[in-house]
Subunit: 186 residues, 2 copies
DNA sequence: AACGGGTTTCAGTAATTTCTGAAATCTTCG
DNA sequence: CGAAGATTTCAGAAATTACTGAAACCCGTT
């Protein structure tokens, strides 16, 4: 398919962005192309449009399918595979976040737990260091818990929260303000 | 400085994590080391501990200083530079997010605006494609606005919100629920 | 079971990124 | 000013990552 200059700019930039987040350039470009394309494309069309090898397209599509960002769509009267990107921006965002959390944050939590235990037991790691590991573990666990709760909210509620911006602050109970539980009296 | 096995595990893992987020391994390892170290370290100590070249340490520290994650700390009676990592986890997180937003999200917004304008004017980009670019632009602008508001909240309020988890949903006004403004009436 | 269109795999090559060591520079002190 | 210690720079080496093309594979059709 023909890329208009606007599309080309978009695709190239997306490729760069991908690279900065450790998503390989071809993968990101293909994603961008499918996201923009007004109809499902075949692997070959993708290869031609982006001027990359057919085999590269194949591997990259496999990756995108694994992330759930692209799906195969059958097209009547054509036995080639056609591919189409997920279009809902919220859905795209949550898939990416979910996947990276699973691949990176969760393993990090395990390792931190292991480090914390080992440091507590080995009798040679400085107390300060131990506390730092434990503190980070706790911090990440809190964030992770928060994320698990928020991701479960219905989409419209999420959008509503977003729209409220900083105004949600109003609803944080005084007593909950960290470290201030007993502050009223003292 | 001597690394205990727990520290070594932590440092190595952090290096890997860095790599997956496009932070070079040495930079991430140095950050991890300084984060754990119970006292400020000299560049040479860092190089010895991690077994990497002195010059590499120098460049990496420069990077970490630029991110504001590490600072120089003078030590009485020693004219060498000593380095120390920022310890507050919230502060670390917000610095990283802020910096990456500035370097990656903001430029992306500019480019999307340019693409949207170009696509609207060129008379050859498919209507669907134009809408997709505009939709993404709007989506990212909303997120960006939300982030700007939330990052301005005082730390204790942020922590409070986090602790509330999904319960904040309760406070989203019905009328604000997206696309439902007129839904009450039927 | 052989053909043909389509797809995937993978070994080797190309490109990119990271790291090093030698040299240059800066800084402090006598 | 100049020596000694400390730091930074940078060209090239090493390591990593991405990409390609040829070959293998799959699967419906005849």
């Amino acid at each position: 398919m023909r890329l208009t200059p606007a599309m080309e700019r978009y695709v190239l930039h997306w490729g760069e962005m991908g690279a900065r987040w450790s998503v390989n350039r071809s993968v990101a470009q293909i994603h961008a192309l499918l996201y923009l394309a007004p109809r499902p494309l075949t692997a070959e069309e993708i290869a031609d449009t982006l001027a990359i090898a057919r085999s590269n397209v194949s591997m990259s599509l496999k990756e995108l399918l694994a992330w759930g960002l692209v799906q195969r769509t059958p097209v009547r009267g054509d036995r080639r595979d056609h591919f189409e990107a997920l279009r809902d921006n919220w859905e795209i965002l949550t898939r990416i976040v979910e996947e990276r959390k699973k691949r990176e944050i969760d393993p990090t939590l395990s390792i931190l737990r292991a480090c914390a235990m080992e440091a507590a037991a080995d009798g040679q790691t400085a107390a300060e260091t131990r506390q730092r590991i434990e503190g980070l573990l706790e911090f990440l666990e809190t964030l992770s818990l928060w994320y698990d709760q928020v991701k479960g909210l219905p989409r419209p509620v999420l959008v509503g929260l977003m729209r409220m911006g900083g105004r949600v602050a109003r609803f944080v109970p005084r007593a909950r303000v960290a470290g201030k539980r007993r502050a009223r009296g003292g």
